[in-house]
Amino acid sequence: MSLRSFVSRPTAHGLQVLERGSWLVFMVFLWWGVSGFATAQTVVPPERSLPLWQLKSGLHFAGKDVQALQADEFANPAQLWLNQGAQAWGLPSAANGKSCASCHGAAATRMQGVATRYPAIDAASGRLFNLEDRINQCTTRHQQAPALTPESDALLGLSLLVTQASKGMPLRVDIGGAARAHWQAGAALFTQRQGQMNLSCAQCHDQNFGQRLYTDPLSQGQPNGYPVYRLEWQKPGSLERRLRSCYAGIRAEMPPWGALEMRQLALYLTWRGEGLPVEVPAVRK
């Protein structure tokens, strides 16, 4: 300042303004560059269409009778399949005499929280597995038994049993690493219009939940009750079966059983419902 005081006042003032201005521009560029670098380095969690406080389990949209049936620990028909699962858990395989229990121990304690993490990447094969895939992987690799049929009572019993061990625990899936691309594919599927009805999942379950579709209230499509006992099916069914029902509803082309597409969509749905507690054994209409 002392140097500049020799210069005539208006010029000094002009220089100062220019100097400050260029500093400001420089700082803005610096901040922009640094923040851009930061975004490239740290993964920003993707934006959620439904914040935690807005998440509602399908039970919220169910009738009082369905809610009562789910709450009744004896009359809840899913218990019959849970009984079967509990029996199968300790049943030794014919091939090598191994049962689920001989590796894993008691399902209720040792399987706690497992179901909340699926669909997940299988470390050995690098493929995206849902819980049923994982059970079948164990059956074929460790028990050397034939794989269980999708939607068979035996598989549903086991998946119900394992999921029930996480009852009350919040859903939390890993969408980083190898799962990232699958999550992105699932997110794209969720918002993609398809089928003869030209509807996307988001149009019903993000934008219009709580409204009525004919006589039924639209739910948010949350996966926290699956495998679920549905009165329509008169038996329990997996999330994949439920997704297929939606595909049929919008008259979309049905992917084959075990399609990756369904697992990707399930991964996105589970991420979208993160924070909701597992409700199994659940009952839905």
Binding site: P77, W81, Q84
Partner: protein, 111 residues
């Protein structure tokens, strides 16, 4: 495989009237529904279900096609003494199922 569940209150005293709840796993196909390929699913309902408590038959039902899948039955028995409750059923295909569970009856405390 046949699966069923039976339930009564945890503590049953002699002379109590006890509500027994029975849940049986069965598809109860009415014969009017089609499978995914459009073929009619043949009628298959529980033809007869009986509950025998000790030596005495306490409940018998012949559900028709109007009863839902995985039916829930409730009935009352007067508890006299500890005995086995035996549930047996047969369906249209001739498949039989059974469940046996002991109903513990505690002596009534003298007041």
């Amino acid at each position: 495989m046949a699966f069923a569940r039976i339930q009564w209150p945890e503590r049953v005293l002699a002379g109590d009237v006890v509500k027994v709840r029975l849940l049986v796993r069965h598809p109860m196909d009415t014969g009017y529904l089609q499978d995914l390929l459009g073929k009619l699913v043949p009628r298959n309902v529980i033809r007869s279900l009986t509950c025998t408590w000790g030596q005495q038959e306490v409940f018998r039902v012949e559900p028709s096609s109007g009863i839902s899948a995985n039916p829930l039955f409730e009935f009352f028995v007067r508890a006299d003494q500890t005995a086995d409750m035996l549930v047996e059923w047969t369906d249209d295909r001739g498949v039989k199922g059974s469940l046996r569970q002991t109903l513990q009856v505690l002596p009534k405390p003298s007041a």
